[in-house]
């Protein structure tokens, strides 16, 4: 369960301050498939960054499974992210010098997983996202959709409780988007992994079971289907 309490992120405090996230309190239960939507500049990405521990909020708390991650700093927060949260980015953000297989395996290597388990988990994930045959290709040799599927597999590699996806379909065509959403829905249903997306994409919004709408850093609508 992810809970935010009075979460705020203010840029340039005191001068030309911008309240990117303005006092948001929200609860995301395990197994939810949530879209955070809103116009550009509404604070979707900043909210996700604060929830994922990538950005330090100006005030408020983010509590994940009872642990206040806003109090973690330095290597502790990096380690927390590694073991508990999976990230999927708009620009895929795969490591260009590593193959699809190695990009996935790297996460488990950082976790200290032994080689046999690493290999079997990597193969399992590659099969899940339908890219086993392309496992040795580098990101530059994959299409955008394929890269994003590798990114999803990488996000799942650490067996996280949550996956935070920032505009994951923004650079994908319809077919790739549909394919990616199918994989994510399947994982959500089969493994009860919580997905939180920030998105503009109506196709993602249509598939979400909960839609949280942000405007000027505040939740203006929270719609559960």
């Amino acid at each position: 369960m992810i809970e935010t309490k009075n979460l705020s992120k203010i840029y340039n405090p005191g001068k030309f301050e911008v309240k990117a996230v303005n006092n948001i309190s929200a609860l995301f239960k395990e197994g939810e498939f949530t879209s955070v939507v809103g116009p550009s500049g509404s604070g979707k990405t900043t909210f996700l960054n604060c929830v994922g521990g990538l950005d330090q909020p100006t005030s408020g708390e983010v509590i994940i499974s009872g642990e206040n991650i806003t109090k973690l700093s330095g290597s502790k927060i990096i380690n927390y992210r590694l073991n508990n949260i999976g990230f999927v980015f708009q620009a895929y953000n795969l490591i260009p010098v590593l193959s699809a297989k190695e990009n996935i395996e790297m996460i488990m290597l950082l976790q200290g997983v032994d080689e046999n388990n690493r290999i079997s988990r990597t193969n399992e994930l590659l099969n899940q996202v339908g890219l086993y045959e392309m496992r040795n290709r580098r990101p530059s040799q994959l299409s955008g959709g394929q890269q994003q599927r590798v990114a999803v597999a990488r996000a799942l590699a650490s067996k996280p409780k949550f996956i935070l996806a920032d505009e994951p379909t923004a650079n994908l065509d319809s077919k790739s988007t549909s394919n990616l959403l199918d994989i994510m829905s399947q994982l959500n249903e089969a493994e009860n992994i919580t997905f939180i997306f920030s998105t503009h994409d109506q196709r993602v919004i249509d598939r979400a079971r909960r839609v949280v709408t942000l405007e000027d850093g505040k939740i203006v609508n929270d719609n559960k289907k």
Binding site: N49, G52, L54, D55, S75, I78, N79, R81, L82, N83, F87, F89, N93, I95, P96, V97, L98, E102, E105, M106, I107, L109, L110, Q111, R154, S158
Partner: protein, 407 residues
């Protein structure tokens, strides 16, 4: 995996990596060859000067060096010789009796240095027998060999007789007539102008003493350190003796080497500056270009220390490839020129040979093949790599993943 990422990152930007490696290689190539030539020259200089007259280590009676007269000479017995020979690294030892004297022929007179030597033992240490330009080195009792400069001064022919006149032992007068049986070219103008050589018994007879010597010349085995031998001798011999290395007896050689070496160090430093800026430029670009990637890696859970490790390994690999190639290419070159020294006389043209020898140097300049030359400079490059890596380390430690991914 970290090593794999580092290696592939080097390979990712081939041109930049190649330029960096080439700059390290080029600088190190020049540094190694320059230092190999310098150290080869120093070795040759030491060999020429030290082995042609002085020894690596000399033993005298205490106080002799500051007041070089026969009253400060010593009597050498077998136990003293045994003590010296017991020191590790000592190869051969010879005794000499050296004294100043006037040399006269006809109506010409000049000063000189009488060297009483053991003819057969001396050949184990010096190469005087190879430096004879006329006559023989194997002289008998009451015969002498003179330096080229003395021969020219007196216009001496073989079997001409010289009169030696000087101070003997304990106030005795030293005088005698000696036929010249050979002329030697010691490749050193001063030694050539002063040196008179005779059998040590003849010399003792000349100064009216049967027992004394002024010098014990100690030759070392190859690769042994003369400083250590001198230190060991200090432990073994009594305070009645003074022990000096060639650096003390021939300080001008040490000074020449130090001064010349300083020039080499300055040159190497200039080349290092070029290398360091080249490497720093690469690391700077590498860090700035990959801020986004660093942000991603930190976001997905890579610790900053591991990330720094990648950059450090990349920098070290880049520099060590340059170092390795430089060593690989310079070693055969230095090895070849060690066996086939560069003949400066040939390079400088006619008359250069005499000019160089007049200066007391050998015209042959071998390159040193001592491993400490490339290894020292490889170590310097390695240390610079570590120092250069401080920049990305600082950048990574301060990196905000969100900001860096907004680039």
């Amino acid at each position: 995996m970290i090593l794999k990422i580092a290696w592939r990152n080097i390979y990712r930007n081939k041109k930049r990596s190649l330029i960096t490696i080439t700059s390290i290689f080029a600088a190190l190539f020049l540094i190694i060859l320059m230092r190999a030539l310098q150290f080869g020259f120093y070795d040759k200089l030491i060999e020429t000067v030290v082995e042609s007259y002085a020894g690596y280590v000399e033993v005298h009676a205490d106080g002799f060096w500051d007041n070089q007269n026969l009253d400060n000479s010593m009597e050498v017995d077998q136990s003293l010789i045994n003590d010296i020979k017991s020191i590790e690294g000592v190869d051969n030892i010879v005794q000499r009796l050296q004294t100043f004297s006037l040399i006269s022929m006809g109506n010409k007179t000049k000063g000189g240095v009488i060297n009483g030597v053991n003819i057969s033992d001396e050949q184990k240490i010096t190469d005087w027998n190879k430096k004879m330009i006329s006559g023989t080195f194997k002289i008998k009792k009451n015969e002498i060999i003179i330096g080229k400069g003395i021969a020219e001064y007196f216009d001496i022919k073989e079997n001409d007789t010289l009169i030696l006149y000087g101070q003997g032992y304990r106030g005795m007068m030293a005088a005698g007539k000696y036929p010249v049986k050979g002329v030697i070219d010691l490749k050193n103008p001063n030694l050539n102008k002063l040196g008179v050589f005779m059998n040590i018994e003849t010399a003792r007879n000349y100064v009216s003493s049967d027992e004394i010597s002024t010098h014990i010349i100690v030759d070392k085995k190859q690769y042994y350190d003369e400083e250590k031998i001198a230190n060991d001798l200090t432990q073994v011999l009594s305070k009645d003796y003074e022990i000096m290395t060639w650096k003390e007896t021939l300080p001008e050689i040490e000074q020449t080497i130090t001064a010349d070496s300083a020039g080499g160090v300055i040159m190497a430093f200039i080349l290092y500056i070029i290398v360091v800026f080249g490497m720093f430029g690469t690391v700077l670009m590498m860090t700035e270009e990959r801020k986004y990637e660093f942000g991603v890696l930190i976001s997905i859970g890579m610790s900053r220390i591991r990330l720094f490790g990648i950059i450090l390994i990349e920098t070290i690999i880049l520099s060590m490839i340059g170092v390795f190639i430089a060593i690989l290419i310079t070693y055969p070159i230095t090895y070849y020129y060690n066996l086939n020294p560069i003949d400066m006389a040939t390079l400088m043209g006619e008359g250069a040979n005499d000019m160089i020898e007049e200066m007391g140097f050998s015209p042959l300049m071998p390159m040193s093949i001592e491993w400490d030359i490339p290894l020292t400079h490889a170590l310097v490059i390695f240390i610079f790599s570590l120092l250069i890596s401080i920049y990305p380390a600082i950048k990574i430690s301060k990196l905000n993943p969100v900001k860096s991914m907004k680039l």
